[in-house]
């Protein structure tokens, strides 16, 4: 029961979509679920978090002042300046089906305002709230974020490596002798894994009608 098929994955995805639609937390599908392995679940980080340190600088300064610009009102009395001390970080979460491991896989990426990406260490520091930080060995291993080319986008993303997911799901199932249906599997997995990287999963997902 540690693994699921693509069809079961799709059942899980559709459950998430249905719940998300009612509570408005932004999960949507990209690509096509009709095609085997052809689509995935995506969501933007709900709220940017303020963990971003300034992006890496090269020798030359990253900002260029244009004194030549003569706007009619250099100091526009009708606007206020945004709080520049606040450096938000934005992110996106994707749930893909891993054909090789037959489990769902969480991909994520986070970036600063200018589009520069956060490194793995910064991701952990910033996204995992202290109280959510896993302590057990198993969770510790689960934490390993690895860089991986996004199978659909071809860009470097981070993902939680799927090689231990099946074991983890077996453990979570524990004494649950009944075969867990696809929806429950999916939500169990998501609510275990996603909060580790700063993607909260609402309790609404746990109600299966």
């Amino acid at each position: 029961m540690g693994n699921i098929t693509w069809e079961e994955f799709v059942v899980g995805v559709r459950h998430v979509l249905a719940v998300s639609d009612s509570i408005g937390d932004g999960w949507h599908v990209r690509g096509s679920l009709e095609e085997h392995g052809g689509g995935y679940l995506a969501k933007r980080m709900d709220y940017p978090v303020a963990i971003g340190e300034p992006s890496e600088r090269t020798a030359e300064d990253a900002t260029i002042d244009h004194d030549s610009v003569t706007e009619p009102y250099e100091n526009d009395p009708c606007s206020i300046d945004p709080d520049s001390s606040f450096r938000p970080v934005y992110g996106e979460f994707h749930v893909l089906y891993s054909l090789a491991h037959a489990v769902p896989t969480l991909y994520l990426r986070a970036w600063r305002r200018d589009g520069s990406c956060l490194e793995a260490q910064e991701l952990w520091r910033g996204l995992t709230a202290a109280e959510r930080r896993p302590s057990s060995d198993e969770s510790e291993r689960l934490r390993s974020l690895t860089q991986q080319e996004h199978p659909f986008l071809g860009e470097p993303w981070y993902h939680l490596h799927p090689c231990r997911t099946a074991d983890l799901m077996d453990q979570i199932a524990g004494n649950d002798v009944d075969r867990v249906d696809a929806k429950r599997y999916f939500i169990r997995w998501m609510s275990t894994v996603a909060p580790l990287v700063g993607c909260p999963v609402s309790h609404h997902y746990a109600s299966f009608r």
Binding site: Y47, E56, E71, P72, I80, P88, L153, S202
Partner: protein, 699 residues
Amino acid sequence: MTSEESGKILQFLPFSSVISSSFWHKLTQMKIDVYALSDEPVDITGYYTNQSASSRLPACLNVDYSSFENHHASVVGRNGILCQGLLQNTNTFEAFKDINKQSAINKCGEQIWNDILTGAALLNPSLLTRFLLLTFADLKKYQFYYWFAFPTLVFPSKIILREEPKELDKMFTKEELHQLQQAYDQYKTTCGQSAFVVEKNPELGFKCHPLKELANLKDTTWVGFCDPSSLPTNPGWPLRNLLALITYHYKERLAGLSVLCWRDEVRDGQRRIGSSLLIEIKDVVYPTENENIPKCLGWEKNERGKLGARMVNLSNSMDPERLANSAVDLNLKLMKWRLLPELNLDVVQNTKCLLLGAGTLGCYVARTLMAWGVRHITFIDNGRVSYSNPVRQSLYTFKDCLNGGQAKAESAANSLREIFPGMISRGIDLRIPMPGHYVTDAEEVEKDVQLLADAINEHDVVFLLTDTRESRWLPSMLSAYLGKLVINAALGFDTYLVMRHGQREPWNPGQVQSEKSKGVMRGALVGRQLGCYFCNDVVAPGDSTKDRTLDQQCTVTRPGISLIASGLAVELMVSVLQHPEGGNASAEISTAAMTTVQQHQQEPDNKGISGSPLGVVPHSIRGFLHRHQQVLPATEAFYNCTACSPLVLKRYAEEGYAFLSEVFNNPDCLEQVSGLADLHKDIASIEDWDYPESEESND
């Protein structure tokens, strides 16, 4: 002006640009595949939301990969509001700087003003919220220069408020808010626009209408818009052009008009609209100059709070060489994270390795070192790549054999960098001087010795991977003299030997380097007590045709043997580096050491395992493929060794090249210096020492 004194001027929060990393990836792709050298402005889209939760958050205008696509709407989500944008990507930094920013934004302002005049914006208010994006993509350095503008018309020039903006929470009951929310939702599903009119009927409650209905509604009405700001007193930028529209068409309605800044937040399934603001306009001030078109402003300020462009360096996520680097490192870190938390990868990565011999062993050793994350590899070899090489020697291909063949050392070094550009590799074309090989050009040989000594000195670990025994003597002696770790690999037809030399401090005449053995020792030998390749020999290296040890028969070997031995050689180095004692790590001399690695690991309290996280750190590994067996003998340094004994090192320290020259011409002199000659006189015969399989290993 009197009104100004008695009221507060409304200040708007400008947009803050937010660029997803995927936007830059897509722009790069578009530049290469579609735009090429064109710097004509192209249409893109961006979006903002009115669901910001924290008042510290800026009002974000986002662009991402879907900004280039038509189906953007499906991606912006429930509260996303699409905006039209114009992207101009220049070909040079100069062109980026030279674009007339004021005329660029004025052009956009004209467009907005035109949409206001024609009434198009009344039917479709999203025409009012536009943006400009100038970019220059330096794709060689993965640097992107960019500057956003959010054009807004200065019309009216000032808005005077009757009082401070108020939050809906504080003005309406929960029921009223709920009814307003329903009215908005109903409007949104039918009309879906980001600006609207709210009718407040005392009997029927709230109802939302399209903007153009403002003229027909006489009841208490508000103008509403989806507000990206979350500040308690300031509305977001889109309201500015919306008020320009209303001022133009419904000037008479302005004084006393209430504006609803609609903020619609969902958190954990709970929807909150109570932080929406209601603003009541008392009066407006019109621009003093009479121009056809109101002035336009809106270039975004940079991080220093000045009007100016920004630059972002994305080599981390775009430069393939840096991606390869971090991918290699991350892959290794998996081992650390998952299996061996105490593993020190930095020490491996920072180790400089010198490979003597760029043949079968050299190629495989280099590849395995690379796999461990070693970045610094130097080859020494004086051969050329021949037609028989590429199939066994994994760093060469057929084309390296052509035209007489490439120099092996250089070719192997180049090959490493082709495989992984992060490598710092070098090839030195050098013939290692050998005992018994008569020196014809003394000056040349002296230079070669110096070159070799310098190379050894510059590296941390020396791999002996040459095909003859005598070529290992000089590097063994020099490495002992310089105190370097030596890993030695040698092959027979179906046998192999992989060993580390005993590692001591660099030669220091004041220090006792080694003592005569006190006889049979119990327990483990520490690293500095261990022997070298030559310690087990009772003859000086010389003409190799006479020798019959397993590694010397010739280079005819079962092909898999060199992979096995190379793998073990690198793993042995890594085990030593991971041991807290490093080169001084203990090896066992007891019979237990002569078992298999598996048996070792089954003994939980085995001393060898305690030191290195990777398990036992043997002195030597001898393998026998015909029986698929491996033994781990450990032997003490031999006081009369021809390569590492203090007698020889002392002589080299004192006489330098003069001593070596003598050795090259007459290897017997080594036996004299080391005292082997005396030993020969003392003992008629010496039994083989640590070679339990010797009877079965037929020559």
